[in-house]
């Protein structure tokens, strides 16, 4: 009797949060989905009508969409790849450090703690061809004779990736560091007794036990990188082959006020990210078995 009452109370208490989740989570996604089948333009809301799959047909033939999808993929693969490698290296080093581990960790976290827009503005100054730190350092070291145009047509994507790696490697490092700390020390002691060298220990113990953590970092980072907006917006505004899907979506939605087609693009991005994470989670599970 009491249990039934408690259960009902629990349901009632849950109701507000359920309502909020529905209103804030499910409803926007659903309405976006509905919008993606209309030609709603913010300037002419009254003219809105259902256009069936026309927006999706347009998506398939939209050269800008495919171009930006390619840019986004390139950015995601290269930046996340580098972040994993560097993050793993950093985590291993910090884990070995005997002293000053806290100081090291907090220093390492600095870039991650900065808001991306601030970091991006900083990088746009650092990479400025005339007054930027990078060019002045390189020319003082005698490595370059002409000003390098870091944000120009040839190097723009490289620079965006560089800034992203600088900013989010700490995030990967922290996750992997937590993973390293969770590996029981006696595994290593046993390996040492058996005469395993460092590389063998790393391959046979560290890497396999770290895999779930790598997978989590990969999942978070890949999803995040795929939606990259702020860094690109500040550094290049999408010029020179750095326009990503989010930048395009922003323009279609807010510059051109095309809510219908913008929603279609949003749904496409949502589906891609969803499938990507599903794939990653699947492969994680396969590996775990």
């Amino acid at each position: 009797m009491i249990r039934g009452q408690q259960r009902r109370l629990a349901l009632w208490l849950l109701l507000p949060s359920l309502v909020f989740v529905t209103v804030l989570g499910a409803f926007p996604i659903l309405s976006q989905f509905v919008l993606s089948f209309t030609d709603l333009n913010l300037r002419f809301p009254a003219d809105r009508g259902f256009v069936g799959g026309a927006n999706y047909a347009r998506l398939v033939t939209d050269a800008v969409f495919w171009q930006d999808l390619g840019n986004t993929l390139l950015f995601t693969v290269v930046s996340v790849g580098l972040e994993l490698l560097l993050g793993l290296g950093a985590a291993l080093l910090i884990n070995r450090a005997v002293r000053g581990r806290t100081a090291l960790t907090s220093t390492l976290m600095m870039p991650w703690a900065l808001p991306t827009v601030v970091a991006a503005t900083m990088w746009s100054l650092i990479l400025n061809d005339r007054i930027g730190l990078v060019n002045s350092l390189l020319s003082r070291l005698g490595l370059i004779s002409e000003r390098v145009l870091w944000l120009g047509p040839k190097l723009a994507m490289t620079s965006v990736i560089l800034a992203d790696v600088w900013k989010t490697t700490p995030f990967v490092a922290i996750i992997l560091l937590a993973g390293l700390k969770s590996i029981p020390r006696h595994y290593y002691e046993a390996a040492e007794l058996d005469g395993a060298n460092r590389w063998e220990t790393f391959r046979a113990i560290t890497l396999p036990l770290l895999k779930p953590f790598i997978a989590v970092a990969l999942l978070f980072r890949a999803m995040d990188a795929f939606r990259i907006f702020d860094l690109v917006w500040v550094l290049t505004g999408g010029a020179s082959g750095t326009e990503t899907l989010s930048v395009y979506i922003y323009k279609v939605l807010f510059r051109y006020s095309e809510m219908g087609y913008g929603s279609t693009l949003t749904i496409a991005l949502f589906v891609i990210v969803f499938l990507m994470s599903l794939g990653l989670i699947r492969s994680m599970r396969v590996q775990a078995e």
């Binding site: 109370l9 109701l15 002419f44 005339r130 007054i131 145009l149 120009g152 020179s240 323009k251 510059r255």
Partner: protein
């Protein structure tokens, strides 16, 4: 029992959370004026003046972020939701068509202003389909800044044609650290302004009716303009880095004394005379270079003021509109903030000229100005120009192909209007 009490609390909390919207009605009319913030404080002073002279009306100033794009996006959000939170908007000259066709701004009543008083270009920018939707507030136009000292030293006249311009650059560019000509070539709105000035300087244009009826010649003009811009970069007259320059990047190069010529808006004048500038007193202003026999036109920038369709007090709002774009307001804003007036008479005002002696020279430039395409689809048209011009400049696409694409897509966008 306890369950019921908890339920009651939850319900009350929800009521409080959701029910916090009310309204108060009184005889007092409050108008909200949204515009980019004015660091000189002149706008706020004017509003205060207006409020004390008009009992029963209170104008509130809603200072918006400096970024034009941010203002645009906020306004579109307000207006598409038919919100009446802002009565008077200050609008970039390129938004008139978009806001007018969406039905977001009101027609300016006949007789509120005398059109003869205003500069023609800004007045055109405030109208769409021959209907006046806004009043020009302050204006802007592309100007050529040059190093008077260097030209005089070399005994050269201020170049007028592109050939003379190149000759002058060749004669003066002895120091490898000093560039010839810096302008705005980053992929953003400024590139459109620069591109159009290059296009007009060789006698081209992209007016919608020309796009439709004379597509092949428009295409050739666009290709020639892109080729001209690219040749300046390829031949070293302009640094490669103009492809990443916005106004301030280019301005900084010039006021650091690292370039001979600069294309920029009038604001750069005060920066060149101000603290931290290495070229104080040695800068001249001229009209942009052009092809022989052509007239160089400058792209019009600046802002207009308009009354929202959703304002609940349109009469009072228009009265304020006439004041804020009136003579007194333009004078004070010119004197205090250096904002370029849109009324011709203000350029002859002794106090204004005393504070801004250079206005006299700017006034000459302002007689030859043109607007960017006036279309409700301007944002898209602008993106098409930015994208293809930048591709051509960076060499990621041949000039001819970029011109083809630009014209083809502009025809689609500007040719058939909703």
């Amino acid at each position: 029992m306890r369950a019921r009490t908890t339920l009651l609390i939850v319900a009350m909390a929800l009521v409080v959370a959701l029910g916090g919207c009310g309204s108060d009605e009184s005889g007092e009319v409050t108008l909200v004026f949204a515009a980019g913030s004015d660091p000189s404080g002149a706008t706020e002073a004017l509003i205060e003046e207006y409020n004390s002279a008009h009992p029963g009306v209170t104008v509130e100033f809603q200072a918006m972020p400096a970024s034009t794009d941010t203002q645009h996006d906020s306004y579109v959000t307000y207006l598409s939701a038919r919100q009446s939170n802002v009565d008077i908007y200050s609008l970039d000259v390129i938004w008139t068509a978009e806001f007018a066709t969406a039905g977001w701004i009101r027609e300016v009543p006949e007789g509120l202003i005398d059109r003869e008083d205003f500069l023609e270009g800004p007045l055109v920018s405030a109208s769409y389909d021959d209907v006046l939707y806004a009043i020009p507030w302050f204006t802007d136009a592309g100007v050529l800044y040059y190093r008077r000292d260097l030209l005089e030293e070399a005994g050269l006249d201020v170049p007028e044609t592109w050939d003379e311009f190149r000759t002058a650059c060749d004669a003066l560019a002895s120091d490898p650290d000093v560039d010839g000509y810096v302008w705005q070539g980053a992929r953003y709105e400024g590139l459109v302004c620069n591109f159009l000035e290059f296009l007009w300087s060789i006698g081209g244009s992209i007016e919608p009716d020309r796009l439709r009826d004379e597509t092949p010649s428009v295409r050739n003009e666009v290709a020639a303009a892109l080729a001209l811009m690219k040749s300046l970069v390829d031949e070293g007259y302009s640094p490669q880095s103009v492809l990443t320059y916005k106004e301030e990047d280019a301005r900084r190069v010039f006021t650091e004394g690292q370039s001979i010529f600069l294309r920029n808006w009038p604001y750069a004048w005060s920066m060149a005379q101000g603290e931290g500038s290495k070229v104080t007193d040695v800068v001249g202003i001229a009209r942009l270079p052009h092809a022989p026999g052509e007239t160089p036109y400058s792209t019009i920038g600046g802002w207009n003021v308009a009354v929202s369709t959703f304002s609940k007090h349109p009469e009072e709002a228009f009265e304020f509109l006439a004041f804020i774009a009136g003579e007194r307001s333009l004078e004070l804003r010119a004197i205090e903030g250096g904002y370029l007036p849109t009324r011709k008479a203000t350029y002859a005002d002794p106090d204004v000229l005393k504070a801004n002696p250079h206005f006299e020279r700017f006034f000459e430039v302002f007689r030859y100005t043109r607007n960017r395409p006036r279309s409700p689809e301007y944002s898209l048209a602008s993106d098409i120009i930015q994208e293809n011009a930048h591709r051509a400049l960076s060499g990621s696409m041949p000039v001819e192909d970029a011109a083809d694409q630009m014209v083809e897509r502009l025809l689609d966008t500007l040719g058939d209007q909703r």
